[in-house]
Symmetry: C2
Subunit: 136 residues, 2 copies
C-alpha cells in the first residue's frame, strides 16, 4: 500500500522544478540534487514529456521545463501517467471491477478513506507543495 518508486521520483522531480521554475534544469542536475539514478530519471522524464506535463529542450544547453503552470498540475495527473492512482472502478480486494451494485465485503469501510485520498490527489497541485517541507 504505497506509491511506486517511479511515482515518488516523478512527484519529487516535478515538485523540485516547480519550486525553481525560473531556472531550466537538466537531467544531470536533477539526478544529483534529488539523488535519483540518472538513467532512471531520464526514462521517467521522457514519459512525462510524452504526456505534455514537461517540455524538453534537446541538445546542448538543453533541459526540462514544466509545460503548464504548477497550479495546473495535480498529483493525480502525475500518478495516472504511471497507472498508480486510485481509480474509481478499482476494487480494494481485487475482485473484478467495482460496481456499487455488487459490493465487496470491505466496501462500506473503504469508501470514505478512498474518497479522501482521491480528493487529496485531485486537489493538490505542484503549487501547493512546492517549497514545502525540508526533505527534497
Amino acid at each position: 500500500m504505497q506509491l511506486s518508486n517511479t511515482s515518488q521520483y516523478a512527484i519529487r522531480t516535478l515538485t523540485y522544478m516547480a519550486t525553481h521554475k525560473e531556472v531550466q534544469m537538466n537531467a544531470t542536475q536533477l539526478s544529483r540534487v534529488l539523488d535519483i539514478p540518472y538513467k532512471f530519471l531520464t526514462k521517467i522524464m521522457t514519459d512525462l514529456v510524452k504526456v505534455d506535463l514537461v517540455e524538453s529542450i534537446r541538445g546542448r544547453e538543453g533541459g526540462y521545463l514544466l509545460k503548464k503552470q504548477s497550479r495546473e498540475i495535480a498529483l493525480r495527473d502525475i500518478l495516472t501517467v504511471f497507472h498508480d492512482g486510485i481509480e474509481q472502478e478499482q476494487c480494494i480486494l481485487g475482485i473484478g471491477v467495482c460496481s456499487s451494485l455488487c459490493k465487496c465485503a470491505l466496501h462500506d469501510q473503504w469508501v470514505a478513506p478512498k474518497q479522501q485520498i482521491q480528493q487529496m490527489f485531485e486537489q493538490t497541485t505542484l503549487a501547493d507543495i512546492a517549497g514545502q517541507g525540508c526533505k527534497i
Copy 2:
C-alpha cells in the same frame, strides 16, 4: 497505490472463514470458492499459521480454523504479515524515514488521509466485514 495480490487473497480468505466459522474449511474448498490458485493459497495460509492468526489441522480430515475470535483480528494484523500496511515511519515520497522534524513536501496534505486509512485498517475487524457485500 493498492494492496498486493497476496494481501487481497489473505483478507478475502480469512473473511470467508469468519463468515463460516462453524465449519472447518480445507485448502481445496477455499481455493475453489474464492478462485485463488491452490498452491498460492496454501503458501499464504502457511504464513498466517506461522503468525498464529490461523490454526492448521494436518492430515486427513484436516483444514484451517481461525485461531482467534473474528472480532480480535483486525485488517492491520493481516497486512503487517505481508508488509503491506501503512507504517508510521513510512514516507509517502520515499525520502528515507519519516520524522515530523523534517517533513517531505507532501506532509501536510498526506497526514489526514493517512491517518484515516490507518484507523480503518486498525479498527476494522473480520467480524465487521464478514458476510458483507455480495462479492466473495
